[in-house]
Amino acid sequence: MKISEKLARETLLEMQRRMLRIRLFDERASKMVKRGYIPGTVHTSIGQEAQVVGACMALKSGDHMTGNHRSHGHPIGMGSPLGPLMAELVGKATGVCKGKGGSLHLADYAVGSLGESGITGSSIPIAVGAGLSAQVLGEDRVALTFFGDGTANQGVLYESMNLASAYKLPVIFLCENNFYALSTPSHTVTGGRIVDRAAGFGMPGVRVDDGQDVMAVYDAVAEAVDRARRGEGPSLVEVMTYRFREHSEGLRINVDYRNSEEKQFWTARDPIVLFREALIAAGIATAAEMDAIEAEIAQEVEDCASFALESPDPEPSVAFEHLFTDAYDLEDVL
């Protein structure tokens, strides 16, 4: 891995911090689902941290992001504090969405996270809208949307890509290609290569073949972001990566749809290990410094879990708020 010379040491370390946050947060969340502290299920980004963080770090404050069901990494990548995220997963009053969203529907407007989406593909045009408002209002910001290889077969993506392209909107379409949609291997349900779909919609398509290399992801996305800021329109970036866990926690699929050689190949390419080694090799940080960072993040995650578990449940009446912005008659609801 080649460490970019353009990036400050602190930025590089922050990348590793965010990857660690995602990893440890998701490991923790996974345990909490199994023990029943988190209701429902969660979809972890374990193994995909480089793809998430490389993309988010290429954005700057004021930019927007929308995501999908594999939902914790994206706001963490944008810099969202962990406590309210974990509290949201547990369904507490202190959750980032007041306990009303849950794992699938995290959003943290303070860091530009406009919302994850349980419905695959549904949040893609929302990012295009953020691009449109930037253009109409003349504001210097871009929007990025994350979606999976499976979701790349939903029509709304192509409507969105086309609209963004025709209007030259500052939007980055980021495909997280982990080779599977649930139990379905991408190649069995996908005609052609996703990256090749960009050209027909008048935008550049770039594929990051090693999505475990956070530098490679960063570079590709940063270029797309620059292009967007220059007013030259949207780009599609496809990142090849792998989820180390099952589609969602607790899901057991009786079919052996991912063989063990494949799993071994990818888990050997752990993005966090690779980046740690690269940083040390490049003399950016010592092993001891990296250890300290890991301990720091481990503590952060401990703290976020305690915060979540100790927080109060939402008041029942919170269920009747936020339907509309103005006061409404509860008669209409009850």
Partner: protein, 342 residues
Amino acid sequence: MSVMTYIGAIGAAQQEAMSADPRVIIIGEDVEANVYGTTGGGKQRAEQGDFVQQFGKNRIRNTPISEEAIVGTAIGAAMTGLRPIVDLSYSSFLYMAMDQFVNQAAKNRYMFGGQSSIPVVFRSAMFYGLNTGAHHSDRPYPMFMNVPGLKIMAPASAYDAKGLLRSAIDSDDPVLTFEAVPLWGAKEEVPDEEYRIPFGVARTRREGCDVTVVGVSGSLPLALQAAEDMAARGVSCEVIDPRTLVPLDTGTIVRSVLKTGRLVIAEPAHRTCGAAAEIAAVVADKAQHALVAPIKRVCALNMQVPFSPALEAQIYPTRERIVAAIEAVCADQLNAENRRVG
């Protein structure tokens, strides 16, 4: 006061809103060319040119044919600083964007704990009764009434259309308009100064004491005509236009039925699970003790829309069908009246 058509009123409300607030934009298929007649300059067109000339192409946006992306883009834009008016043309095209309406527009603010507000208006028009065939004639507002989080207006006159649309554009929540194309040419006096009509307030178009007749959208004028017919026969109808379907002013309707004891509801949507069903259900709960006759619905039949003029007219409510329903619930009075007259 000036006299305005229903469609002219819509254009005028858009023009006022665009002039008042630079965050208001219009986006949709063929809006630049003003094909549907609501993005022209209205009376001022001659002086001020069309909307593109007045507001520029940055704010009047032709789109590709991509309803789902258009709707989603408008939602995202509304979440980040704009106040879009989306012109979806035929109401029949809303289905293409159903996911965005239900899962984004309606749920976003709720699900994210109030972080977002979504000030966007989705305009669409119900082109029914005009021999355009099954694909273009839908009146799908009941579907959207079943989705909490969407406000819905369905005006039946120029005055209401203009005032409600201004309120819709002011609203920080998503609003769907269902315009009645059969009424586009209908004229009404409209104040010259700007005005707004609040959502959730019905308009009693005619007072009466024997039977309450609720008319939704294009069925309202028919209800008024039927009331006229019945007046001649000694039956006094109170005719109510709910104007907005979400929120729905059930109070006005219930109070009226408490007075009259009878209810007929007319609407252009299909009967099953329509707005009339909802109104009937509310009244059967809140005013059951006052009811002295069955509640009658006069809706579009539970059928798709056939093309042939020899067939289509049968599908929708008519003045005659409304009269027949009033007759059915007022059989007593009519018999009494007949005896008196006879």
